[in-house]
Point group: C2
Chain length 200, copies 2
Amino acid sequence: MAYRETAQVRARKDEVRTLILEAARGLVGQGGFRAAQMSAVAARAGIATGTIYRYFPTQSELFAELFRGSSQREVDAMQAAAAAPGPCAERLAGAVAVFIARALRNRRLAYALIAEPVDPQVEAERLEYRRAYARVLEKLLEEGIAGGEFAPQDPHLSAAALVGLLGETLLGPLVKSAPSARESAADAIVSLCLRAVGAR
Amino acid sequence: MAYRETAQVRARKDEVRTLILEAARGLVGQGGFRAAQMSAVAARAGIATGTIYRYFPTQSELFAELFRGSSQREVDAMQAAAAAPGPCAERLAGAVAVFIARALRNRRLAYALIAEPVDPQVEAERLEYRRAYARVLEKLLEEGIAGGEFAPQDPHLSAAALVGLLGETLLGPLVKSAPSARESAADAIVSLCLRAVGAR
DNA sequence: TTAAACAGTGAATCGCGGTTCAATCCTTAA
DNA sequence: TTAAGGATTGAACCGCGATTCACTGTTTAA
């Protein structure tokens, strides 16, 4: 026994791992998953292609982990807005507004996370995170329905509906509208959501 | 000049072309676009792989044409429901119900048309048809807004919202629900749509 | 100082399914 | 009946990017 991993090496490896993920995140943020070829990720991280495979078994795994990290941030942000004090309707409006604002801030990333064609393993992560968004909204809906703030409805179904509504309006009309019109369009989306759940 | 295409040959070629499209449609309806490899399409059509290329320059073209055909039927069906006589709210409910019922009838095809990852050329067709659905709804919304049946709103944005709402609820909760629960879930989706546009 | 254990390298390999094409078969008009 | 023009065939080819691996460089404990 003449070699064993030390804290120093451990730290260095963690660093490289992070480097790879950040390189991939950067490429995806600019050109989507299709721009994040292994060789490109390696080049951006300043390492050899083969090195990536010391840290991630396949490209799909790398993408899946990247996807989880990026999506979790979004879910957390939405969750924070949903957990604010106040009436449910206001909190729903806030959660939706946060989702929209963040997506507009990095549209390429939003497209990659929401709609870009990806391989089945990453698609599975996407479905998982769609459900995560939906769960945040579902809890809020349950509370609002119980409190009489929202119309009686199946919160599970309605939450999914809101996720779909948000995705489509964001990637469709909203990103195509003039930047000056975005704010009012965002308001319109919030209104749609509130009406859909029957907020009083 | 010893050869010229006759009506007989013309007819035969049209037949083969249709055969190819039908074979592809069958495979997509069962296993999505990923199941429709050129060799599989050829096998199902009872011809050689190379023959497909006498009728379609590339796989993308074949898929694109298949996509157009299948989607146009759906749009037409929705348009027919939207054009029925009666108040806008009822017509919107009808159009949405038709969309849902048809998607449930062939769920694999619905998934392929709405959400399955596809190459960029086919994705472009998909966006085109999403817009086609949205246009049908948009017209209806305009009429309803003008007549005071719906809340004042941007019909373009709201139409996109409805398309997203439909897609997500269909492929998410609805297809996962027990068949016995589908009818009430479909009703719930219609209610969501009506509330979203502020139908009185 | 040494050798064991591991990390890094990047050119070569590989798998996959779309696409091609030389050989063959079929249809037509003379 | 014939030859020209086209259609069909399916095995071979190809492009692309993920993945591998033999080699080199580095770190560790004895």
